[in-house]
């Protein structure tokens, strides 16, 4: 999921993607910060920590290591504030663990943050609704769509950077499918749990 700067910086179109990613990420983060209420900041910090740690947890699925992304959960709880949360998490991952690299933080923020915002608009209504089952399903769907959308965006970036299509399609989509399923289960469970224990998490307009 973390696109590598070594790969993108190798081609001119990839460099354009890196630069464009930085600009887009800056815009998204600005929107997120503008909408971030002071009362939401501790929540944002906690979910940033969750995102930061989640990407470090790898599970072997059919021989391929996949990791949690949880951008769907971030989107559901934080809305646009998921963008700065993803940015901070990615910067720390890049600095401490060399995930992707600092130059690629912009692109990766867009790749993982944008699906979070999309999930917010798609499924927010269900998490604040009356039915627990529906909220669970919405959480699972957000987890799944968050990861798959991020995978599609990553694949799109790679394609635009001049990677051969079959190669990208072959490698990104099947690998991310199990990851998306795991994310769906975890996000669904997290939404169900949060609704029971702290329902006000979903109440505030993020």
């Amino acid at each position: 999921m973390h696109l590598s700067e070594a790969i993108l910086a190798a081609t001119p179109s990839g460099q354009i993607m890196l630069a464009g990613g930085i600009l887009l990420a800056a815009g998204g983060v600005a929107i997120g910060l503008r909408r971030l209420e002071p009362a939401d900041m501790p929540r944002t910090a906690i979910l940033t920590s969750v995102f930061f740690v989640a990407s470090l947890l790898h599970v072997q699925v059919m021989g391929t290591p996949v990791h949690l992304v949880l951008n769907g959960l971030l989107g559901l709880v934080l809305g646009w504030a998921a963008m700065p949360a993803v940015l901070v998490g990615l910067v720390l991952q890049a600095v401490l663990f060399a995930f992707g690299g600092l130059l690629a933080v912009g692109v990766n923020t867009v790749v993982m943050g944008l699906p979070a915002v999309v999930c917010y608009y798609l499924f927010r209504w269900a998490t604040t609704g009356r039915y627990d089952g529906l909220a669970w399903a919405a959480g699972a769907a957000a987890g799944f769509i968050g990861v798959m959308l991020a995978a599609l965006l990553a694949a799109g970036v790679l394609l635009l950077a001049g990677k051969p299509f079959y190669h990208v399609a072959q490698l990104v989509i099947p690998v991310q499918l199990p990851a998306a399923c795991i994310d769906a289960v975890v996000t669904g469970a997290a939404v169900g749990f949060l609704r029971k224990v702290r329902p006000e998490v979903f109440r505030r307009s993020g």
Binding site: M1, H2, L3, S4, A6, I7, A10, V29, A30, L33, R34, R35, L36, E37, P38, M41, P42, T44, A45, I46, T48, S49, V50, F52, V53, A54, L56, L57, H58, V59, Q60, P65, V66, H67, P84, L87, V88, G89, V91, L92, Q93, L96, F97, A98, F99, L102, A154, V157, L158, K163, H167, V168, Q170, L171, V172, V175, F193, V197, R198
Partner: protein, 258 residues
């Protein structure tokens, strides 16, 4: 009713969150931490050998490897074998930039300093590059074939090791060959001796650095604290919390970038 229940729920929430995160951290274990690809290359005589592997040590099999010259020209392209290993013949004594690319956005690069290569190799200006004259490339040039068949990698490498150990055995006895042969034999031997050490260092680097994880969480909390601090400084009245917080936290986020 709600007032009496709320504090208990709150503490339970934190308890479950913390224990859940701790359980998640311990669950999969450090060895399952992969995805990030590592690349290592070293000079063995006139050859460059390397290995590409994922965090945790799983080899990156059948992965594209590109080798670039210092001036940016691509020297050759090859693939890793089943052990994630690759090798190519160095035509000149110069830096080589090796790039691996799994194709799905994960990759790594490594620059092998030219100083690691033996002095017997010609400098880059005088070297015969395979891309210059295909027909006249040195006979040992095997790298161009390997992209088609990934299997030639290991046999070729083992063959090279075997043939090199042959001269080193008599060297112990009586007849030392030319100084160049000696040098090569020594380099091979040292390489073999160092290999396990190198593996060990790789493994140590692969271990999850828990201190880094905790440090990262600390950074996030610190950022939040800074945001609140700036918020408190900027807020003149208790009610004007809508417009100014964005500016306050906006200036608080960037400092963590360096």
């Amino acid at each position: 009713m709600k007032k009496t229940v709320f504090p208990r729920k709150k503490s339970r929430f934190w308890f479950v969150l913390v224990t859940g995160m701790a359980g998640l951290l311990w669950g999969p274990g450090p060895t399952a931490w992969a995805h990030k690809i590592y690349l290592h290359a070293e000079a063995v005589g006139q050859k460059v050998q390397g290995r590409a592997y994922f965090r945790g040590g799983a080899p990156a099999q059948e992965t594209k490897v590109e080798v670039f010259l210092p001036d940016g020209r691509k020297l050759l392209e090859t693939k890793t074998d089943a052990n994630g290993e690759f090798s190519f013949q160095a035509p000149a004594r110069c830096d080589y930039r090796v790039v691996v690319d799994t194709g799905d956005g994960h990759g790594a690069e490594y620059t092998l300093p030219g100083a690691d290569l033996p002095e017997s190799l010609p400098p880059l200006e005088k070297a015969q590059l395979p891309s210059d004259k295909k027909g006249q490339s040195p006979p040992k040039e095997t790298s161009v074939q390997s992209p088609d068949k990934p299997s030639p990698g290991p046999p070729e490498q083992k063959l090279a090791l075997g043939s090199k150990s042959a001269p080193s055995a008599p060297a112990k006895g009586a007849t030392p060959g030319s100084p160049a042969e000696w040098q090569q034999a020594i380099e091979e031997a040292v390489h073999r001796q160092i290999q396990p050490l190198a593996r060990k260092i790789e493994q140590m680097e692969d271990r999850i650095r828990w201190s880094d994880v905790l440090g990262g969480i600390g950074y996030i909390l610190g950022l939040t604290g800074m945001g609140f601090y700036l918020l408190g400084m900027r807020r003149s009245g208790p009610s004007s919390a809508n417009e100014k917080p964005s500016a306050g936290s906006g200036s608080s986020r960037p400092p963590e970038a360096p």
